[in-house]
Amino acid sequence: MDVLHNLAFGFEHALTWQNLMFCAIGCVVGTLVGLLPGLGPLATISLLLPLTYSIPTGGALIMLSGIYYGAQYGDSVSAITMKIPHASSIVACIDGYQMTLKGKTGLALFTAGVSSFIGGTVAIVVLAWLAPSLGEVAFLFGPADYCALMLVGFVCVSFVTTGSLLNGLAMCLIGVLLGQIGTDVNSGMPRFTFDLPFLAEGIGLVSVALGCFGIAEITKNLDAREERTPFNGKIHLMPTWAEFKRIIPSALRGSAVGSFLGILPGGGPVIAQFAAYALDKKVSKYRDEIGTGAIEGVAGQAAADEAAARTSFIPLMSIGIPENAVMALMMAAFIIKGIQPGPNMIAGHPDLFWGLVASMWVGNCFLLLLNVPLVRYWLSVFKIPYAVLFPAILFFCCIGTYSVNNNLDDIFITSAFGLAGYLFLRLDLDPAPLMLGFILGPMLEENFRRAMLLSRGHFSTFVTRPISGTLVGLIGLFIVWQLVAFVMRSRGPAPAVPVQPAGSA
């Protein structure tokens, strides 16, 4: 029972007073910020990343992951109570908001909380069993295989987050190009720096993230001139036993779907919640009620959301390739702390890995015991008028940018990316794939150059190696499928306009 032994070891690290505190702070702060309009997990993590610099490594990672799943839960709360969704809670709007209209807000929030707990627990079991064994597979990967895997990630993320392969891939490529700014590692030659000394080390990740997500998001809300009305309804949390029994099967189905989809490249909460909702609509005993405010419509998707959020750590920690934009930011946090995620991480830092896994379950308990009962108080953040809120968010952007290098000049770079982020928004381009491209770009270049060096300049190395050959084949199939779909669509009638979420981050 190696895994149990390791988990016990992890709990020893997660259950120190200090780490418990970091976990609790992360969950609460994440929930609070996740509630705010237009701030999803991606924006929340990038805003709060600089605050973790002065915290010890284990605590910082525990707090950041607490922020991540706290923000997930906060998102679904604002979706259920006020129909303000983010990318990770679009589905919660459908049945969750219908339940609020029926006066069952408390039941919906309780369902979301309990299902998240179930989803998280299942996912942690998967994580603890699968990550170490997948790490051993990762040792078989050569440079060409890494290249192909990153390309698969690009294609999947582009398709999943934007729905348009062309726009998403374009953003990935722009991200890769932005990652090229700075000194070339192989030759030491500065690239695209315009001889500016502060560009020699490349653009700061925090500047890109805060510009594209923080500042662009504030401007979007200001342009919309929307005054949000706070939620004033009553919240009655405890369900009856009959209602409670309906949560379980649906949540278990959602956990299985979420755990599986979370591992795949490009996967994660966004696609998992849709899949779980669709599955419940097919097989649930109460499938006729789904869509009109049924418990199953909330439970399945909440469990899938949470499960996928956790299993998406598996590729990051065992192979070292983040599979979506949030994981790319988490990877940046690991690297800032001096830890390279990858096959060597579990063996090299077992305390960190198992501590993090254990803390995820602790965070689960915090969410269930702390945030679900207290959620009615958290909702009062909506009583803060936006005129007060947005200067405060702007202030956090400034402090965050400044504290990376203690350099005020970095704020100018952040403003430049704020403008770029706003242009992307207006041009209907999603910045999430850009983040992934920006972080993977240097890795992609290094592995590409290494693969080419090994094969003496022959591209055939990408096809002849079994792993990269399979992955490249998958990309080819996917692109052909997209082309065929595009041709079919332009011949047939115009498709229905898809629903756009309020916050894409």
Binding site: L173, I174, F390, L427, E445, F448, L453
Partner: protein
Amino acid sequence: MIDRNLARGLALAATALAFGLGSLRYPVGDFAHAGPGLFPLMVSVMLLGIGVATIVRSRFVPAEPLAFSAKNIGLLLLALCGFALVSKLIDMAAGIVVMVFVASLAGTSFSWQRNLKIAAGLIGVALAFQKLLGLNLPLF
């Protein structure tokens, strides 16, 4: 009216050209021995392809208007740059006051008293960061 689809294609193509032409200034090398310019050049060529495809596609799909208002984003960027400049010249507390006042011009309502309260609150938060988290902020 500016067509958003066309504008997107043009913006992508322009980005690709800027990086692509820039990468030609560095040694390109060949595939077996790549120079620093090779990889950015390859990526730019792919991006240019996507840009051109987007431009071509915009001729076949109905045009959408490009909604762009310079006022709010301009004010926010001004607030950020003002914060950086004033923090450099005077100190960060003054920078926070400037940022709050410039930024709130972008909001729906403007009030002196409220702005002063927000600025005071934020200076308090900054002070807490400085003392409790050990961030090195040049506040006063």
